[in-house]
Symmetry: C3
Subunit: 112 residues, 3 copies
Amino acid sequence: MKLITAVIKPFKLEEVRSALTDLGLQGMTVTEVKGYGRQKGHTEIYRGAEYAVSFLPKIKIEVVVPGAQVDKALAAIQRAAKTGQIGDGKIFVSPIEHTVRIRTGESDDDAL
Amino acid sequence: MKLITAVIKPFKLEEVRSALTDLGLQGMTVTEVKGYGRQKGHTEIYRGAEYAVSFLPKIKIEVVVPGAQVDKALAAIQRAAKTGQIGDGKIFVSPIEHTVRIRTGESDDDAL
Amino acid sequence: MKLITAVIKPFKLEEVRSALTDLGLQGMTVTEVKGYGRQKGHTEIYRGAEYAVSFLPKIKIEVVVPGAQVDKALAAIQRAAKTGQIGDGKIFVSPIEHTVRIRTGESDDDAL
Ligand SMILES: Nc1ncnc2c1ncn2[C@@H]1O[C@H](COP(=O)(O)OP(=O)(O)OP(=O)(O)O)[C@@H](O)[C@H]1O
Ligand SMILES: Nc1ncnc2c1ncn2[C@@H]1O[C@H](COP(=O)(O)OP(=O)(O)OP(=O)(O)O)[C@@H](O)[C@H]1O
Ligand SMILES: Nc1ncnc2c1ncn2[C@@H]1O[C@H](COP(=O)(O)OP(=O)(O)OP(=O)(O)O)[C@@H](O)[C@H]1O
Ligand SMILES: [Mg+2]
Ligand SMILES: [Mg+2]
Ligand SMILES: [Mg+2]
């Protein structure tokens, strides 16, 4: 299992969510965050408004997926989140060693 | 060391916290998140109110624990967070390679 | 690549950010969280106010860095975040197996 963490533009959440649902992925956790990338301190256009400040609002999506679905999920997120403008975001993949579904006690791939 | 991440029903936070404290675990980080699992788009009863929307408020708990305490911590979280109804949540375990306690400079298990 | 997660006092964010920028690190994600460490349930002085409650507001910083920069980044965060008082925070290092920069499709170290 892998944890895919994507930090994206907030207005792209529904598109990314729908792309993951189309792959049959059945769970997601979302957090409101703020961040900056390579243009830090510089101006980034964000939903029509201009921000000179360094931190911009972003959405962090976390999806734990079976190893076999990582590549498809990465491609789907990248496709759905991309506008071609700066600030489109980053995706990070990290290992998950164990998963539990609390209600049923199922574990690992069965828990996803 | 392992990072245990649990996404639970918000009203279960105090119960989970108390169960971890009873094990002698001395630290926790909590984030307000929203998410969905297998019933996505369907109705889930949440603290008496009915939501047809896809994202429900959840609490994400992060606890870094020594390797020797992972199993006990997982069992305690599962027991404390479980209601038996859908939406009880998920627990994920991932590796932590290094820890620093900022004030003292202690590291790894000594820093927890 | 490694994910460095630091949970710090909120008023230390700008100092930590500036220390990381000085190292040439070009991205960061920030989340408002709450937490407790070893003094849980006890009183901690926080920006002049006294809290008897268990959870205190903290800032979680996440920075993904090339392996070669982990040690410098850890030292910089520790130096910048430290006040010498309780509650200065914790730093955790965990593995990142893959990174994508969404706009360009670059991956791994090139994506940071
Ligand atoms: N190295 C990093 N570590 C942690 N979070 C990062 C990192 N780089 C970027 N982020 C997060 O991703 C968000 C979006 O980054 P962004 O897309 O601006 O990256 P970028 O490298 O500047 O690419 P672009 O040139 O396309 O803007 C940031 O606001 C931040 O939250
Ligand atoms: N695969 C996943 N990746 C990331 N977060 C997840 C995943 N699955 C669930 N979550 C998080 O856990 C929360 C609770 O999930 P939930 O308990 O509804 O899972 P479930 O599989 O639907 O189990 P149940 O049938 O008991 O409801 C979600 O709101 C979401 O935040
Ligand atoms: N084991 C842990 N797992 C997850 N988060 C932790 C853990 N320990 C501490 N934290 C987070 O770090 C924050 C700061 O912790 P804190 O600096 O108080 O640690 P401490 O061990 O009590 O050190 P000190 O004695 O210097 O206060 C907490 O509010 C919590 O968010
Ligand atoms: Mg950018
Ligand atoms: Mg569910
Ligand atoms: Mg403390």
